[in-house]
């Protein structure tokens, strides 16, 4: 709460009271909130307009689709790579070759390769989440004590049982660390993707507002993104806690 108050206070002070040289173009908080909660907003976007929710819905849909795809593909790939040494040796160098290319550097190629507007934006977001998921899952499997595997073999576990009782639970803490990172990266990449290529969504809303010099709408978009990103990370954290009850809080 104190943090909130400090941010708001500093923002109000620099823009409305002191009017520091660099801050003269930034709108004071009061103006932003008046616009945000206005029934007839000056720039057409507020909590009472459907457009606002449309942008939110598009961004959430894209971020979660990409995130889910990354989890559905990334976790199994990471598990197999960590579990089967042969797979690891053949694929890990390839992963490390492709991983340094930033997701956002994929934007132009994605636009050319994929049809329409949705697929490129989702693809870029997916790439961001995918590598974080694979890498952390892989590290999770590698972090499992080797004697668990030997013990499982001594007890005559089938490969399926090893997967279910050793590999997955052992890697779960790392998987969830990876998922949290992936969620953050999804939102990070999504915003840029929408700014460059989107036709709707919060990133686009911010950029459009910038082009029209609607500063309250820009700030509104940023704050909304912050809230959504925060809520998403909290969701993943809570899910992780629920699935790993044995670790306590």
């Amino acid at each position: 709460m104190l943090g909130f108050a400090t941010v708001l206070g500093a923002w109000h002070l620099t823009t409305a009271v002191l009017r520091l040289p660099l801050f003269d173009k930034i709108t004071p908080p009061v103006t932003v909130f008046r616009e945000w909660f206005n029934r007839t907003p000056a720039f057409g976007v507020s909590v009472f307009t459907p457009v606002y929710y449309e942008h939110i819905a598009y961004s959430v849909y894209r971020a979660y689709t990409a995130f889910l795809l990354a989890v559905l593909l990334g976790v199994p790939i990471g598990l197999v790579m960590g579990w089967r040494e042969r797979v690891y040796r053949f694929t890990f160098p390839l992963l490390e070759t492709l991983r340094p290319i930033p997701p956002l550097a994929w934007v132009p190629l994605a636009i050319l390769m994929l049809p329409g507007i949705e697929p490129p934006v989702i693809y870029v977001t997916f790439i961001a989440a995918f590598f974080a998921t694979v890498l952390n899952t892989l590290l999770g499997v590698l972090s499992i004590d080797r004697s668990y595997f030997r013990a499982a073999e001594c007890l005559g576990f089938s490969p399926r049982n090893v997967l279910v009782h050793v590999v997955v639970p052992g890697a779960l803490p790392f998987i969830f660390t990876g998922l949290q990172i992936a969620m953050g990266l999804s939102w990070f990449a999504l915003v840029a993707g929408e700014m460059i290529a989107g036709r709707r969504g919060l990133g686009y809303m911010i950029f459009d507002a910038y082009n029209m010099a609607q500063i309250p709408t820009i700030i509104m978009g940023m704050l909304t993104l912050g809230l959504l990103g925060y809520a998403s990370s909290a969701l993943v954290r809570r899910l992780g806690r629920a699935l790993m009850a044995w670790r306590g809080v």
């Binding site: 104190l2 400090t6 956002l104 132009p108 190629l109 050319l112 390769m113 840029a192 910038y210």
Partner: protein
């Protein structure tokens, strides 16, 4: 030289290379056959030819230089402010209480969402980009260092305090050595992120020069081989700079055993 010979004999290296070669071969065949998604995508050989011409062009190296300069500036400011701030938060509970919520409020906003506001805020485009890079590096470093501070066993502090340690001793003997691995992790991760940001910022802010700008030019001009060359260059730049940070970290924290 002997290391190289050993590398050449190890099966793991050849298997890794085989994996990469298989990927390139697949790409070559798929692009040559003009499969639906890859209709516009050039083959690896075409990309290689493009790269061969680019390495001779002054423009290409200038892009590296300009982007590198921006990254370096934003990164140095971000690390220079972030590390002391996070350490101060680790040393003083009061300071932590006062500044942590502030970080938590600002952090979830993705760095690139700051671009439009920064353009309005800063007089020049150059400052805008550097400030966005700064944000990316700053938050990554601060969060990693704070994580490191939290992981310190409280018994160390208690032991030191009961033996009459001053805050100064706590800092030099406990907090700094214990957090230095996280400082370097944060610095390396932050370095990777800054390259990502510089590319996107250069594309969004339509600034002249830089690797991101080069890529966007290539996109507008329809030169897809050059797009891929830019992607690879950016990846390489990020990789090289984070490796440098890792190396630096390893040298400065020799007491940690690496596997």
């Amino acid at each position: 030289m002997r290391d190289l010979a050993r590398l050449a004999r190890s099966a793991a290296v050849w298997q890794g290379l085989a994996g990469i070669a298989a990927f390139l071969a697949l790409w070559q065949v798929a692009a040559a056959l003009h499969l639906p998604m890859l209709r516009h995508v050039p083959t690896p050989l075409q990309v290689l030819t493009q790269l061969a011409t680019e390495v001779h062009s002054r423009q290409y190296w200038l892009s590296w230089y300009v982007s590198g300069q921006r990254v370096l500036l934003g990164y140095v400011i971000g690390v220079g402010l972030g590390v002391p701030l996070a350490l101060a938060m680790g040393m003083s509970r009061t300071f932590h209480g006062a500044s942590f919520p502030l970080l938590e409020v600002l952090r979830p906003i993705p760095p690139l969402a700051w671009v439009p506001l920064s353009i309005l805020f800063w007089p020049t485009m150059e400052q805008t980009i550097v400030s966005i890079i700064f944000l990316g590096a700053f938050f990554t470093v601060v969060l990693n260092v704070l994580g490191g501070v939290e992981a310190i066993d409280v018994n160390y502090r208690r032991a030191a305090l009961s033996m009459g340690a001053r805050p100064w001793h706590l800092f030099w003997k406990i907090v700094l050595p214990a957090t230095s691995p996280s400082i370097f992790t944060g610095m390396a991760v932050g370095m990777g992120l800054t390259w990502e940001i510089v590319v996107a910022a250069e594309m969004i802010a339509s600034i002249q020069a830089g690797l991101g700008f080069m890529m966007w030019q290539a996109y507008v001009g329809g030169n897809i081989a050059l797009i891929i060359v830019s992607m690879v260059s950016i990846g390489l730049a990020g990789l090289v700079s984070s490796s440098l940070i890792w190396m630096l970290g390893r040298r400065l924290t020799p007491w940690l055993r690496r596997t």
